[in-house]
């Protein structure tokens, strides 16, 4: 856990420093010390400070928040469905969030306008969260029979709901104006490019609540891994716990999608890396996934914005490029294990 935190801090420092405007580590510390009033000395150029504080830091924090949110919800969802291949994207959370977010972008009139007026950046997050809740709720309902989640039904209904949400999203895209279209397309590829302190603070509660809550459910997730009945025999209110987990995971993923679009595979591979290298104990996997997810996404974002300078690669493409081979590797090892 300590080494994971060290990794995260390292990545955060690294991505704060690297970019079009170079900032060295001493300069970074100097800027931070100067701005927080710890030191009067200014060993940096004003331009560096402006870039760091207004562009780079919000982006780093956004990456950390979203990575942590995706990682921890991935771990929770896999535990809940008792399946290491479950992922927020596969069971409809992301597509539901997308649908509602696009709905908000396209039907920007009326309710959403007034909603935005009152809640600003929270509005889109809230809409995405609502959408995510609806689709996840449907998929979950369909896949539970006699209190047990049937994995095949789960994946199939996930596919069906994804297709349906995708169709509606397509319909909305068809109706969209050119400007809206640009927003939708770029947003659906996933990007942290829109980072500002406003988006960071808008996202903060949606991530912090799951981050604070889910680690306390780690013991219950372990028990759930043995089966619903077994967890019940161990004194766990299974139905309540499941609802809370779905709610918290959907909250984090829904809000992340609203801010940064669909960033796949973080939620899938991060818990896996932890399980394969350390243990399957959710007391480590759940908080560990938050930290590792944050580190990985920040790193991916660093690569995404520096690899094709001066342009920027959408981060969703990058995580999918790295994530898909890992996903296949997992499937193959699972298959080989089952053969024995």
């Amino acid at each position: 856990m300590l080494s994971l935190t060290a990794l995260l801090i390292g990545v955060m420092v690294l991505s704060s420093c690297i970019g079009a405007v170079e900032i060295s580590v001493p300069e970074l510390l100097s800027i931070l010390a100067n701005r927080t009033g710890l030191s009067d000395v200014a060993n940096f150029r004003p331009q560096q400070a402006a870039v760091l504080l207004n562009i780079r830091l919000p982006r780093v924090f956004l990456g950390v928040l979203i990575g942590a949110g995706l990682g921890i919800s991935g771990a929770a969802i896999q535990g809940l469905f008792r399946n290491p291949l479950a992922e927020p994207g596969l069971i409809g959370i992301s597509s539901g969030a997308t649908l509602f977010a696009v709905l908000m972008i396209v039907l920007e009139v009326g309710v959403f306008k007034s909603l935005s007026g009152v809640m600003g950046f929270y509005a889109l997050s809230l809409a995405a969260f609502t959408g995510a809740c609806i689709t996840t709720g449907i998929v979950y309902r369909l896949s539970v029979r006699n209190g047990k989640t049937v994995i095949t039904t789960l994946l199939l209904s996930g596919i069906a709901i994804n297709a349906l949400a995708g169709a509606f999203t397509g319909l909305l895209t068809y109706m969209a104006t050119d400007e809206q279209l640009r927003t939708i397309t770029f947003w659906s590829l996933g990007s942290l490019g829109g980072a500002s302190w406003a988006t960071v603070t808008g996202l903060l509660p949606f991530i912090l609540i799951p981050l604070a809550g889910l680690p306390f459910l780690a013991k219950s997730l372990n028990a759930l891994a043995l089966g619903d009945a077994e967890a019940l025999h161990m004194g766990i209110d299974v139905i309540m716990i499941k609802r809370i987990i779905i709610l918290l995971a959907t909250m984090a993923v829904g809000a992340s999608v609203a801010v940064a679009g669909i960033i796949g595979f973080i939620g899938l591979i991060v818990p896996h890396i932890l399980r394969m290298t350390f243990t399957a104990d959710h007391r480590l996997v759940v908080p560990g996934s938050a930290i590792l997810g944050a580190a990985l996404l920040s790193l991916a974002d660093l690569v995404a914005r520096t690899i094709v300078v001066p342009a920027e690669l959408p981060i969703g493409i990058l995580t999918a490029l790295i994530g898909t081979p890992v996903f296949l590797y997992i499937i193959i090892t699972e298959r080989n294990k089952n053969k024995i």
Binding site: N222, L226, G227, A229, H233, M234, G235, T279, R283
Partner: protein, 262 residues
């Protein structure tokens, strides 16, 4: 210890259990016998509060079972199920430690670690401690699960232990070990309630046998009282031979050839 009073259970229109009454005491082992679909598993689920009865009630330790809070109940009764597959790989000690979950908040105390060590010794799985559960054989997995279940009620010497076909899928030696362990636990003061398929195991190890047929009670009593041609035919619809065997009080049951069937 546990008293079932006029228990009925309906699933849809079908009545799976019909007005069942019996009692099991602490220090006693009760075996439940019956053909497939006789309602054994349903009865077990009712007794460990996985489902609630349609009629009747269950008194567990002088209180209505439904009044218990789940964590409270978890310290007083544990259940060993038949199905023990896990899709996420846990290390054996982690899994046994899960039995202690009702006893600690976030991290196990010294007592929990000590209990886990003891139950692993008692069930003979100390050597498997660091293994991945999913790489174990069926018999080993069963013993790991048993260790977990024992850890859960280790501090309550008169707790209730439910075993659902504990010998299922085990070889001869493990079957015998499992039944002897269950017997020892009953002797220690646990109330052991056990679904069995093997009549001879039931008659050798149990203090009382409950025979079920289509959700109704055929007989209940000591093995000597209930193991006879009539009850077995009534329960299983098969003729048997009873053979006196040296060293056993109760006659061995051997199924007769089925004629004119099939």
């Amino acid at each position: 210890m546990i008293i079932a009073h006029e228990l009925s259970y309906h699933a849809g229109k079908k009545e799976l259990l019909h007005r069942l009454s019996f009692e099991a005491k602490a220090g006693e082992m009760l075996a439940i016998l019956g053909a497939n679909g006789a309602g054994k598993s349903t009865l077990m689920k009712l007794l460990c509060r996985e489902i609630s009865p349609s009629h009747g009630h269950i008194i567990f330790r002088e209180r209505n079972l439904q009044q218990y809070k789940l964590p409270e109940l978890a310290k007083q009764r544990a259940v060993l199920s038949q199905q023990n597959t896990i899709s996420i790989s846990f290390i054996v000690t982690e899994l046994v430690m899960m039995g202690r979950y009702p006893h600690f908040d976030q991290f196990p105390g010294e007592r929990d670690i000590e209990v886990v060590r003891q139950v692993m010794e008692e069930t003979g799985i100390t050597a498997l401690a660091g293994r991945d559960y999913n790489t174990l054989s069926g018999g080993e997995q069963q013993r790991v699960q048993l260790a977990r279940v024992l850890a859960q009620i280790y501090d309550t010497p008169d707790a209730c232990l439910f075993l659902d076909e504990p010998t299922n899928g085990l070889d001869l030696l493990y079957q015998q070990q499992m039944m002897e362990l269950a017997r020892r636990l009953a002797n220690k003061g646990y109330c052991v309630i056990c679904i069995l398929h093997d009549i001879n195991f039931a008659s050798r190890f149990a203090d009382k046998i409950l025979m079920l047929k289509d959700g109704k009670k055929v007989a209940i009593g000591t093995p000597l009282e209930v193991i006879n041609h009539e009850n077995i035919y009534e329960t299983f619809n098969i003729q048997v031979k009873l053979m006196e065997c040296e060293g056993y009080d109760c006659p061995l049951v051997i199924p007769a050839m089925i004629q004119n069937n099939l």
